[in-house]
Protein backbone atom coordinates (compact mmCIF):
# COMPACT_ATOMS: atom_id res chain seq x y z
CA UNK A 1 0.00 0.00 0.00
CA UNK A 2 2.85 2.37 0.51
CA UNK A 3 4.57 2.20 -2.84
CA UNK A 4 4.25 5.86 -3.70
CA UNK A 5 3.72 6.77 -7.30
CA UNK A 6 5.54 9.91 -8.30
CA UNK A 7 2.17 11.57 -8.99
CA UNK A 8 1.10 10.92 -5.39
CA UNK A 9 4.41 12.23 -4.14
CA UNK A 10 4.01 15.48 -6.06
CA UNK A 11 0.42 15.90 -4.87
CA UNK A 12 1.53 15.34 -1.29
CA UNK A 13 4.38 17.79 -1.73
CA UNK A 14 1.87 20.33 -3.02
CA UNK A 15 -0.29 19.79 0.09
CA UNK A 16 2.76 20.10 2.35
CA UNK A 17 3.90 23.35 0.75
CA UNK A 18 0.45 24.93 0.75
CA UNK A 19 -0.28 23.86 4.33
CA UNK A 20 3.07 25.26 5.45
CA UNK A 21 2.45 28.62 3.77
CA UNK A 22 -1.06 28.74 5.22
CA UNK A 23 0.30 27.79 8.63
CA UNK A 24 2.88 30.59 8.52
CA UNK A 25 0.15 33.13 7.72
CA UNK A 26 -2.17 31.85 10.43
CA UNK A 27 0.51 31.71 13.13
CA UNK A 28 1.81 35.17 12.26
CA UNK A 29 -1.60 36.53 13.22
CA UNK A 30 -1.81 34.75 16.56
CA UNK A 31 -1.69 37.23 19.44
CA UNK A 32 1.60 37.12 21.36
CA UNK A 33 -0.48 36.79 24.49
CA UNK A 34 -1.43 33.31 23.35
CA UNK A 35 1.88 31.79 22.27
CA UNK A 36 1.98 29.35 25.17
CA UNK A 37 -1.54 27.92 24.64
CA UNK A 38 -0.82 27.96 20.90
CA UNK A 39 2.07 25.55 21.46
CA UNK A 40 -0.13 23.27 23.56
CA UNK A 41 -2.79 23.36 20.84
CA UNK A 42 -0.56 22.71 17.83
CA UNK A 43 1.12 19.91 19.74
CA UNK A 44 -2.24 18.26 20.37
CA UNK A 45 -3.20 18.73 16.70
CA UNK A 46 0.02 17.21 15.38
CA UNK A 47 -0.63 14.23 17.64
CA UNK A 48 -3.15 13.28 14.99
CA UNK A 49 -0.22 10.95 14.25
CA UNK A 50 -2.46 8.82 16.48
CA UNK A 51 -4.28 7.83 13.30
CA UNK A 52 -0.99 6.72 11.74
CA UNK A 53 -0.54 4.31 14.63
CA UNK A 54 -4.14 3.11 14.16
CA UNK A 55 -3.45 2.42 10.49
CA UNK A 56 -0.31 0.46 11.36
CA UNK A 57 -2.25 -1.56 13.94
CA UNK A 58 -4.68 -2.57 11.20
CA UNK A 59 -1.97 -4.00 8.96
CA UNK A 60 -0.95 -7.63 9.20
CA UNK A 61 2.29 -7.71 11.14
CA UNK A 62 4.21 -9.35 13.93
CA UNK A 63 3.53 -8.92 17.63
CA UNK A 64 6.63 -6.72 18.05
CA UNK A 65 5.48 -4.26 15.41
CA UNK A 66 2.03 -4.05 17.02
CA UNK A 67 3.67 -3.21 20.33
CA UNK A 68 5.66 -0.37 18.73
CA UNK A 69 2.40 0.98 17.31
CA UNK A 70 0.60 0.56 20.64
CA UNK A 71 3.31 2.55 22.44
CA UNK A 72 2.86 5.26 19.80
CA UNK A 73 -0.91 5.20 20.43
CA UNK A 74 -0.36 5.68 24.16
CA UNK A 75 2.09 8.57 23.61
CA UNK A 76 -0.11 10.33 21.07
CA UNK A 77 -3.22 9.81 23.23
CA UNK A 78 -1.39 11.38 26.19
CA UNK A 79 -0.54 14.43 24.08
CA UNK A 80 -4.05 14.76 22.68
CA UNK A 81 -5.75 14.55 26.08
CA UNK A 82 -3.27 16.74 27.97
CA UNK A 83 -2.84 19.21 25.07
CA UNK A 84 -6.50 20.09 24.61
CA UNK A 85 -7.25 20.12 28.36
CA UNK A 86 -4.26 22.34 29.12
CA UNK A 87 -5.04 24.71 26.24
CA UNK A 88 -8.56 25.19 27.51
CA UNK A 89 -7.38 25.67 31.08
CA UNK A 90 -4.92 28.37 30.02
CA UNK A 91 -7.39 30.13 27.72
CA UNK A 92 -10.01 30.32 30.47
CA UNK A 93 -7.52 32.32 32.57
CA UNK A 94 -7.25 35.18 30.10
CA UNK A 95 -9.80 37.75 31.12
CA UNK A 96 -10.65 41.33 30.44
CA UNK A 97 -10.51 44.13 32.95
CA UNK A 98 -13.58 44.03 35.16
CA UNK A 99 -16.05 46.78 34.23
CA UNK A 100 -15.75 49.77 36.58
CA UNK A 101 -18.09 49.65 39.51
Amino acid sequence: MTALSSADLITNLMIFVLATVLGQELIRHVSRLLHTPLMALTNAISSVSFIAALIVLAEPSSEDVSILAAIAVALAATNIVSGFLLTDRILRMFRRRKPDK
Binding site: A3, N12, F16, G23, L26, A40, S46, V56, A72, L85
Partner: protein, 460 residues
Protein backbone atom coordinates in the same frame (compact mmCIF):
# COMPACT_ATOMS: atom_id res chain seq x y z
CA UNK B 1 -16.90 2.15 4.81
CA UNK B 2 -15.99 3.73 1.53
CA UNK B 3 -12.68 5.47 0.98
CA UNK B 4 -14.51 8.50 -0.35
CA UNK B 5 -16.38 8.95 2.91
CA UNK B 6 -13.23 8.56 5.01
CA UNK B 7 -11.33 11.00 2.82
CA UNK B 8 -14.21 13.47 3.03
CA UNK B 9 -14.15 13.26 6.80
CA UNK B 10 -10.39 13.90 6.67
CA UNK B 11 -11.10 17.05 4.66
CA UNK B 12 -13.50 18.23 7.37
CA UNK B 13 -10.89 17.46 10.05
CA UNK B 14 -8.19 19.38 8.15
CA UNK B 15 -10.53 22.35 7.80
CA UNK B 16 -11.27 22.30 11.52
CA UNK B 17 -7.53 22.25 12.31
CA UNK B 18 -6.99 25.30 10.09
CA UNK B 19 -9.94 27.12 11.67
CA UNK B 20 -8.60 26.18 15.08
CA UNK B 21 -5.39 28.14 14.41
CA UNK B 22 -7.33 30.99 12.83
CA UNK B 23 -9.44 31.40 15.98
CA UNK B 24 -6.26 31.54 18.09
CA UNK B 25 -5.53 34.97 16.58
CA UNK B 26 -7.30 36.72 19.43
CA UNK B 27 -8.28 35.95 22.99
CA UNK B 28 -11.99 36.45 22.31
CA UNK B 29 -12.24 33.54 19.88
CA UNK B 30 -9.41 31.39 21.21
CA UNK B 31 -11.50 28.90 23.17
CA UNK B 32 -13.57 28.30 20.04
CA UNK B 33 -10.24 27.54 18.37
CA UNK B 34 -9.48 24.85 20.90
CA UNK B 35 -12.94 23.31 20.42
CA UNK B 36 -12.37 23.21 16.65
CA UNK B 37 -9.12 21.36 17.33
CA UNK B 38 -10.95 18.82 19.49
CA UNK B 39 -13.67 18.45 16.84
CA UNK B 40 -11.12 17.86 14.09
CA UNK B 41 -9.35 15.26 16.23
CA UNK B 42 -12.55 13.37 17.04
CA UNK B 43 -13.56 13.28 13.37
CA UNK B 44 -10.06 12.19 12.28
CA UNK B 45 -9.91 9.36 14.80
CA UNK B 46 -13.52 8.30 14.20
CA UNK B 47 -13.02 8.12 10.44
CA UNK B 48 -9.82 6.11 10.85
CA UNK B 49 -11.44 3.64 13.24
CA UNK B 50 -14.26 3.09 10.74
CA UNK B 51 -11.89 2.60 7.83
CA UNK B 52 -9.23 0.43 9.45
CA UNK B 53 -10.23 -2.47 11.64
CA UNK B 54 -7.58 -2.88 14.29
CA UNK B 55 -6.14 -6.38 14.50
CA UNK B 56 -5.31 -6.03 18.17
CA UNK B 57 -8.20 -4.28 19.84
CA UNK B 58 -6.99 -5.16 23.35
CA UNK B 59 -3.62 -3.47 22.72
CA UNK B 60 -5.33 -0.44 21.25
CA UNK B 61 -7.80 -0.01 24.08
CA UNK B 62 -5.07 -0.55 26.66
CA UNK B 63 -2.85 2.07 25.03
CA UNK B 64 -5.66 4.64 24.84
CA UNK B 65 -6.57 4.05 28.49
CA UNK B 66 -2.93 4.57 29.52
CA UNK B 67 -2.79 7.73 27.43
CA UNK B 68 -5.95 9.10 29.03
CA UNK B 69 -4.80 8.21 32.55
CA UNK B 70 -1.41 9.87 32.05
CA UNK B 71 -2.69 12.79 29.99
CA UNK B 72 -5.66 13.97 32.06
CA UNK B 73 -3.79 14.90 35.24
CA UNK B 74 -1.09 16.62 33.15
CA UNK B 75 -3.70 18.68 31.34
CA UNK B 76 -5.79 19.47 34.40
CA UNK B 77 -3.21 19.86 37.14
CA UNK B 78 0.17 21.01 35.84
CA UNK B 79 1.18 24.35 37.43
CA UNK B 80 1.43 27.34 35.11
CA UNK B 81 5.07 27.79 36.15
CA UNK B 82 5.70 24.21 34.93
CA UNK B 83 4.10 24.62 31.50
CA UNK B 84 7.49 24.99 29.73
CA UNK B 85 8.66 21.57 30.91
CA UNK B 86 5.30 19.96 30.09
CA UNK B 87 5.63 21.46 26.60
CA UNK B 88 9.09 19.93 26.22
CA UNK B 89 7.66 16.61 27.38
CA UNK B 90 4.82 16.77 24.87
CA UNK B 91 7.32 17.34 22.05
CA UNK B 92 9.24 14.30 23.31
CA UNK B 93 6.09 12.15 23.32
CA UNK B 94 4.87 13.37 19.93
CA UNK B 95 8.18 12.87 18.17
CA UNK B 96 8.77 9.45 19.74
CA UNK B 97 5.28 8.33 18.65
CA UNK B 98 6.05 9.42 15.09
CA UNK B 99 9.48 7.74 15.10
CA UNK B 100 8.05 4.46 16.46
CA UNK B 101 5.26 4.37 13.87
CA UNK B 102 7.95 5.01 11.25
CA UNK B 103 9.98 2.06 12.54
CA UNK B 104 6.88 -0.15 12.61
CA UNK B 105 6.08 0.84 9.04
CA UNK B 106 9.63 -0.12 7.99
CA UNK B 107 9.28 -3.62 9.45
CA UNK B 108 5.87 -4.10 7.82
CA UNK B 109 6.89 -2.95 4.35
CA UNK B 110 10.36 -4.45 4.08
CA UNK B 111 11.45 -5.97 1.73
CA UNK B 112 8.87 -4.51 -0.66
CA UNK B 113 9.57 -0.88 0.28
CA UNK B 114 10.53 1.50 -2.52
CA UNK B 115 13.58 3.80 -2.21
CA UNK B 116 11.59 7.06 -2.28
CA UNK B 117 9.35 6.00 0.60
CA UNK B 118 12.28 4.62 2.55
CA UNK B 119 14.24 7.87 2.14
CA UNK B 120 11.38 9.92 3.57
CA UNK B 121 10.94 7.32 6.29
CA UNK B 122 14.62 7.55 7.26
CA UNK B 123 14.48 11.35 7.38
CA UNK B 124 11.34 11.15 9.50
CA UNK B 125 12.95 8.71 11.94
CA UNK B 126 16.17 10.73 12.29
CA UNK B 127 14.16 13.86 13.01
CA UNK B 128 11.75 12.04 15.34
CA UNK B 129 14.44 10.34 17.41
CA UNK B 130 16.66 13.41 17.76
CA UNK B 131 13.67 15.53 18.75
CA UNK B 132 12.77 12.92 21.36
CA UNK B 133 16.09 13.00 23.25
CA UNK B 134 16.51 16.74 22.61
CA UNK B 135 13.14 17.40 24.19
CA UNK B 136 13.91 15.05 27.09
CA UNK B 137 17.05 17.08 27.82
CA UNK B 138 15.08 20.35 27.53
CA UNK B 139 12.60 18.86 30.01
CA UNK B 140 15.40 17.86 32.40
CA UNK B 141 16.90 21.36 32.27
CA UNK B 142 13.58 23.13 32.76
CA UNK B 143 12.56 20.81 35.57
CA UNK B 144 15.93 21.37 37.25
CA UNK B 145 16.90 17.69 37.07
CA UNK B 146 20.13 18.77 35.39
CA UNK B 147 21.82 22.17 35.49
CA UNK B 148 20.47 24.83 33.16
CA UNK B 149 24.00 25.81 32.24
CA UNK B 150 25.24 24.51 28.90
CA UNK B 151 27.58 21.54 29.17
CA UNK B 152 30.53 22.28 26.92
CA UNK B 153 33.66 20.35 26.08
CA UNK B 154 36.49 20.54 23.58
CA UNK B 155 35.63 19.28 20.09
CA UNK B 156 31.90 19.46 20.85
CA UNK B 157 30.94 20.50 17.32
CA UNK B 158 33.01 17.67 15.87
CA UNK B 159 31.40 15.04 18.10
CA UNK B 160 27.84 16.35 17.55
CA UNK B 161 28.08 16.71 13.81
CA UNK B 162 29.95 13.40 13.59
CA UNK B 163 27.04 11.70 15.35
CA UNK B 164 24.57 13.32 12.97
CA UNK B 165 26.83 12.18 10.11
CA UNK B 166 26.61 8.57 11.33
CA UNK B 167 22.80 8.82 11.39
CA UNK B 168 22.69 10.20 7.86
CA UNK B 169 25.21 7.64 6.60
CA UNK B 170 23.20 4.75 8.03
CA UNK B 171 20.08 6.21 6.41
CA UNK B 172 21.82 6.28 3.04
CA UNK B 173 23.08 2.72 3.56
CA UNK B 174 19.59 1.54 4.52
CA UNK B 175 18.01 3.07 1.42
CA UNK B 176 20.62 1.26 -0.70
CA UNK B 177 20.17 -2.00 1.25
CA UNK B 178 16.59 -2.00 2.56
CA UNK B 179 16.81 -5.42 4.21
CA UNK B 180 19.81 -4.53 6.41
CA UNK B 181 17.67 -3.71 9.43
CA UNK B 182 20.75 -3.38 11.64
CA UNK B 183 21.34 -0.03 9.91
CA UNK B 184 17.98 1.11 11.27
CA UNK B 185 19.19 0.51 14.81
CA UNK B 186 22.42 2.44 14.13
CA UNK B 187 20.36 5.26 12.64
CA UNK B 188 18.08 5.36 15.67
CA UNK B 189 20.97 5.21 18.13
CA UNK B 190 22.95 7.96 16.41
CA UNK B 191 19.90 10.23 16.08
CA UNK B 192 19.04 9.73 19.75
CA UNK B 193 22.62 10.55 20.75
CA UNK B 194 22.71 13.64 18.52
CA UNK B 195 19.53 15.09 20.08
CA UNK B 196 21.01 14.56 23.52
CA UNK B 197 24.36 16.17 22.65
CA UNK B 198 22.69 19.09 20.90
CA UNK B 199 20.50 20.19 23.80
CA UNK B 200 22.85 19.58 26.75
CA UNK B 201 25.11 22.22 25.17
CA UNK B 202 22.34 24.87 25.22
CA UNK B 203 21.67 27.10 28.23
CA UNK B 204 18.39 27.61 30.11
CA UNK B 205 17.70 31.14 28.89
CA UNK B 206 17.81 29.93 25.28
CA UNK B 207 15.01 27.45 25.99
CA UNK B 208 12.22 29.60 24.47
CA UNK B 209 13.92 29.29 21.09
CA UNK B 210 14.98 25.66 21.58
CA UNK B 211 11.44 24.61 22.52
CA UNK B 212 10.09 26.37 19.45
CA UNK B 213 12.65 24.66 17.18
CA UNK B 214 11.92 21.24 18.69
CA UNK B 215 8.22 22.02 18.19
CA UNK B 216 8.95 22.62 14.53
CA UNK B 217 10.96 19.38 14.21
CA UNK B 218 8.14 17.37 15.84
CA UNK B 219 5.66 18.85 13.36
CA UNK B 220 7.84 18.26 10.31
CA UNK B 221 8.49 14.64 11.32
CA UNK B 222 4.71 14.10 11.64
CA UNK B 223 4.23 15.57 8.17
CA UNK B 224 6.97 13.26 6.83
CA UNK B 225 5.14 10.28 8.33
CA UNK B 226 2.09 11.51 6.39
CA UNK B 227 4.15 11.20 3.19
CA UNK B 228 5.18 7.66 4.09
CA UNK B 229 1.63 6.52 4.83
CA UNK B 230 0.18 8.66 2.03
CA UNK B 231 -2.08 10.23 4.67
CA UNK B 232 -2.83 13.81 3.72
CA UNK B 233 -4.49 14.82 6.96
CA UNK B 234 -1.26 13.98 8.76
CA UNK B 235 0.67 16.07 6.24
CA UNK B 236 -1.60 19.06 6.87
CA UNK B 237 -1.54 18.75 10.68
CA UNK B 238 2.23 18.20 10.74
CA UNK B 239 2.86 21.19 8.45
CA UNK B 240 0.71 23.46 10.61
CA UNK B 241 2.61 22.38 13.73
CA UNK B 242 5.95 22.70 11.94
CA UNK B 243 5.05 26.22 10.77
CA UNK B 244 4.01 27.23 14.23
CA UNK B 245 7.30 26.12 15.76
CA UNK B 246 9.25 27.84 13.01
CA UNK B 247 7.45 31.19 13.35
CA UNK B 248 7.75 31.14 17.14
CA UNK B 249 11.43 30.23 16.84
CA UNK B 250 12.04 33.14 14.48
CA UNK B 251 10.24 35.56 16.82
CA UNK B 252 12.29 34.30 19.78
CA UNK B 253 15.64 34.42 18.01
CA UNK B 254 14.93 37.93 16.67
CA UNK B 255 14.08 39.02 20.20
CA UNK B 256 17.57 37.90 21.20
CA UNK B 257 19.23 39.23 18.05
CA UNK B 258 20.74 35.79 17.44
CA UNK B 259 20.65 33.23 14.68
CA UNK B 260 19.37 29.66 15.07
CA UNK B 261 22.93 28.44 14.50
CA UNK B 262 24.25 30.63 17.30
CA UNK B 263 21.54 29.42 19.69
CA UNK B 264 21.94 25.74 18.80
CA UNK B 265 25.73 25.65 18.65
CA UNK B 266 26.91 28.84 20.38
CA UNK B 267 27.02 27.48 23.93
CA UNK B 268 26.09 30.93 25.29
CA UNK B 269 25.84 31.27 29.05
CA UNK B 270 28.44 28.68 30.02
CA UNK B 271 30.46 30.79 32.41
CA UNK B 272 30.53 34.41 33.38
CA UNK B 273 33.24 36.07 31.29
CA UNK B 274 35.57 38.53 32.96
CA UNK B 275 34.01 41.96 33.26
CA UNK B 276 35.15 44.46 30.70
CA UNK B 277 37.79 46.77 32.15
CA UNK B 278 37.10 50.09 33.78
CA UNK B 279 33.94 49.00 35.53
CA UNK B 280 35.49 47.09 38.40
CA UNK B 281 34.80 49.66 41.08
CA UNK B 282 31.19 50.35 40.23
CA UNK B 283 28.92 50.33 43.24
CA UNK B 284 25.17 49.98 43.07
CA UNK B 285 22.95 51.78 45.54
CA UNK B 286 20.73 49.37 47.44
CA UNK B 287 17.45 50.37 49.01
CA UNK B 288 14.69 48.88 51.17
CA UNK B 289 11.00 48.45 50.30
CA UNK B 290 10.27 51.45 52.57
CA UNK B 291 12.50 53.65 50.38
CA UNK B 292 10.64 52.46 47.30
CA UNK B 293 7.26 53.39 48.76
CA UNK B 294 8.42 56.99 49.06
CA UNK B 295 8.92 57.05 45.28
CA UNK B 296 5.71 55.17 44.53
CA UNK B 297 3.69 57.55 46.71
CA UNK B 298 4.08 60.37 44.22
CA UNK B 299 4.02 58.28 41.04
CA UNK B 300 1.28 58.62 38.43
CA UNK B 301 2.46 55.89 36.04
CA UNK B 302 4.17 52.58 36.79
CA UNK B 303 5.35 49.87 34.41
CA UNK B 304 6.22 46.43 35.78
CA UNK B 305 8.72 44.32 33.79
CA UNK B 306 8.56 40.66 34.87
CA UNK B 307 11.05 37.91 34.01
CA UNK B 308 11.89 34.31 34.76
CA UNK B 309 12.77 35.24 38.37
CA UNK B 310 9.10 36.03 38.96
CA UNK B 311 8.20 32.49 37.89
CA UNK B 312 10.92 30.96 40.07
CA UNK B 313 9.76 32.93 43.13
CA UNK B 314 6.08 32.17 42.27
CA UNK B 315 5.60 35.90 42.73
CA UNK B 316 2.93 36.49 40.05
CA UNK B 317 0.09 36.69 42.58
CA UNK B 318 1.89 39.25 44.78
CA UNK B 319 2.72 41.24 41.65
CA UNK B 320 -0.98 41.33 40.83
CA UNK B 321 -1.80 42.50 44.39
CA UNK B 322 0.79 45.24 44.08
CA UNK B 323 -0.71 46.28 40.76
CA UNK B 324 -4.17 46.43 42.36
CA UNK B 325 -2.90 48.43 45.33
CA UNK B 326 -1.19 50.94 43.03
CA UNK B 327 -4.28 51.23 40.85
CA UNK B 328 -6.38 51.83 43.98
CA UNK B 329 -4.19 54.91 44.53
CA UNK B 330 -5.06 56.13 41.05
CA UNK B 331 -1.78 55.07 39.49
CA UNK B 332 -1.76 53.76 35.92
CA UNK B 333 -0.09 50.32 35.91
CA UNK B 334 1.10 48.42 32.82
CA UNK B 335 3.11 45.24 32.41
CA UNK B 336 5.95 45.21 29.87
CA UNK B 337 6.41 41.76 28.32
CA UNK B 338 9.68 40.96 26.54
CA UNK B 339 9.20 38.13 24.02
CA UNK B 340 11.90 35.93 25.59
CA UNK B 341 11.11 36.68 29.23
CA UNK B 342 10.60 33.30 30.89
CA UNK B 343 11.30 29.87 29.53
CA UNK B 344 8.91 29.53 26.60
CA UNK B 345 7.07 31.80 24.16
CA UNK B 346 4.27 33.63 25.99
CA UNK B 347 5.28 32.31 29.43
CA UNK B 348 4.87 35.65 31.28
CA UNK B 349 1.43 36.28 29.77
CA UNK B 350 0.18 32.95 31.06
CA UNK B 351 1.56 33.48 34.57
CA UNK B 352 0.02 36.93 34.82
CA UNK B 353 -3.27 35.67 33.37
CA UNK B 354 -3.21 32.98 36.06
CA UNK B 355 -2.85 35.74 38.67
CA UNK B 356 -5.92 37.36 37.05
CA UNK B 357 -4.16 40.36 35.59
CA UNK B 358 -6.50 41.56 32.81
CA UNK B 359 -4.79 41.07 29.47
CA UNK B 360 -5.35 44.71 28.43
CA UNK B 361 -2.70 45.51 31.04
CA UNK B 362 -0.06 43.33 29.30
CA UNK B 363 1.96 45.33 26.77
CA UNK B 364 4.30 43.98 24.10
CA UNK B 365 7.84 45.33 23.98
CA UNK B 366 7.43 47.42 20.81
CA UNK B 367 4.30 49.11 22.11
CA UNK B 368 5.49 49.77 25.65
CA UNK B 369 9.02 51.03 24.90
CA UNK B 370 7.94 54.52 23.72
CA UNK B 371 6.09 54.95 27.04
CA UNK B 372 9.08 54.57 29.39
CA UNK B 373 10.31 58.21 29.11
CA UNK B 374 6.93 59.37 30.48
CA UNK B 375 6.85 56.72 33.18
CA UNK B 376 7.50 57.63 36.80
CA UNK B 377 8.58 54.22 38.07
CA UNK B 378 9.60 51.05 36.25
CA UNK B 379 9.67 47.98 38.51
CA UNK B 380 11.81 45.08 37.25
CA UNK B 381 10.87 41.75 38.86
CA UNK B 382 13.19 38.85 38.10
CA UNK B 383 14.26 40.04 34.65
CA UNK B 384 17.84 41.01 33.90
CA UNK B 385 19.46 40.73 30.47
CA UNK B 386 16.30 41.92 28.69
CA UNK B 387 16.63 45.27 30.50
CA UNK B 388 20.38 45.81 30.08
CA UNK B 389 21.01 49.15 28.35
CA UNK B 390 24.40 47.80 27.18
CA UNK B 391 22.37 46.14 24.40
CA UNK B 392 21.79 49.65 23.01
CA UNK B 393 24.98 51.42 23.99
CA UNK B 394 27.99 49.08 24.11
CA UNK B 395 29.04 47.60 20.76
CA UNK B 396 31.49 45.25 22.52
CA UNK B 397 28.83 43.70 24.77
CA UNK B 398 27.60 40.18 23.93
CA UNK B 399 24.08 41.57 24.30
CA UNK B 400 24.66 44.42 21.82
CA UNK B 401 21.84 44.69 19.28
CA UNK B 402 19.33 42.67 21.28
CA UNK B 403 16.00 44.50 21.56
CA UNK B 404 15.41 45.32 25.23
CA UNK B 405 12.78 46.89 27.43
CA UNK B 406 13.97 50.48 27.84
CA UNK B 407 13.25 50.60 31.57
CA UNK B 408 16.34 52.80 32.12
CA UNK B 409 14.44 55.68 30.48
CA UNK B 410 11.86 55.77 33.26
CA UNK B 411 12.34 58.48 35.91
CA UNK B 412 13.07 55.86 38.54
CA UNK B 413 13.90 52.17 38.09
CA UNK B 414 13.20 49.78 40.96
CA UNK B 415 15.17 46.61 40.34
CA UNK B 416 14.20 43.65 42.51
CA UNK B 417 16.85 40.96 42.40
CA UNK B 418 18.04 38.09 44.53
CA UNK B 419 21.72 39.07 44.47
CA UNK B 420 24.09 41.34 42.61
CA UNK B 421 25.20 38.49 40.31
CA UNK B 422 25.17 38.95 36.53
CA UNK B 423 22.32 37.72 34.35
CA UNK B 424 22.22 34.50 32.42
CA UNK B 425 24.42 35.89 29.66
CA UNK B 426 27.15 36.43 32.26
CA UNK B 427 27.12 40.15 31.47
CA UNK B 428 26.94 42.70 34.25
CA UNK B 429 23.87 44.92 33.95
CA UNK B 430 24.71 48.62 33.50
CA UNK B 431 21.26 49.43 34.80
CA UNK B 432 22.32 48.59 38.38
CA UNK B 433 24.71 51.55 38.47
CA UNK B 434 22.53 54.26 36.96
CA UNK B 435 21.77 57.16 39.31
CA UNK B 436 18.02 56.66 38.83
CA UNK B 437 18.13 52.96 39.74
CA UNK B 438 17.08 51.67 43.16
CA UNK B 439 18.36 48.13 43.72
CA UNK B 440 16.28 46.12 46.18
CA UNK B 441 17.97 42.83 46.97
CA UNK B 442 16.04 39.78 48.14
CA UNK B 443 13.57 37.10 47.08
CA UNK B 444 11.04 38.68 44.71
CA UNK B 445 8.03 37.42 46.63
CA UNK B 446 9.37 38.61 49.99
CA UNK B 447 10.38 42.04 48.68
CA UNK B 448 7.03 42.57 46.96
CA UNK B 449 5.11 41.45 50.04
CA UNK B 450 7.05 43.96 52.17
CA UNK B 451 6.53 46.64 49.55
CA UNK B 452 2.80 45.94 49.49
CA UNK B 453 2.57 46.12 53.28
CA UNK B 454 4.48 49.42 53.33
CA UNK B 455 2.25 50.80 50.60
CA UNK B 456 -0.91 49.89 52.50
CA UNK B 457 0.46 51.58 55.62
CA UNK B 458 0.80 54.89 53.83
CA UNK B 459 -1.37 57.55 55.35
CA UNK B 460 -1.81 60.57 53.18
Amino acid sequence: MSDILVDSLYVVAALLFVLSLKFMAEVRTSRMGNFCGVGGMVIAIGATLLAYQSRSVDLLVGAVVIGAIVGSPIGLKVAMTAVPQRTAMSHAFGSLAVALVGAAEYYIDTPGIDPATLSVLCGEMVLGFLTFTGSCMAFAKLQGIISGRPILYRGRMFVSLGTLGVAVASAVYLVANPTQSLALLVLAGAALLFGFLLVIAIGGADMPTVIAILNSFAGISAAALGFVLDNRLLIVAGSLDGSSGLILGIIMSRAMNRSFTNILFGGVGAAAPAQSGGTAARVAQTYTPDDVVVVLRDARTVIIAPGYGMAVAQAQHVVKELSDALQARGIDVKFAIHPVAGRMPGHMNVLLAEAQVPYEQLWEMDKVNPLFPETDVAIVVGANDVTNPAARTKPDSPLYGMPILNVDKARTVVFIKRSMGPGFSGVDNDLFYLPNTMMVLGDAKKVLTDLLAALRNLRD
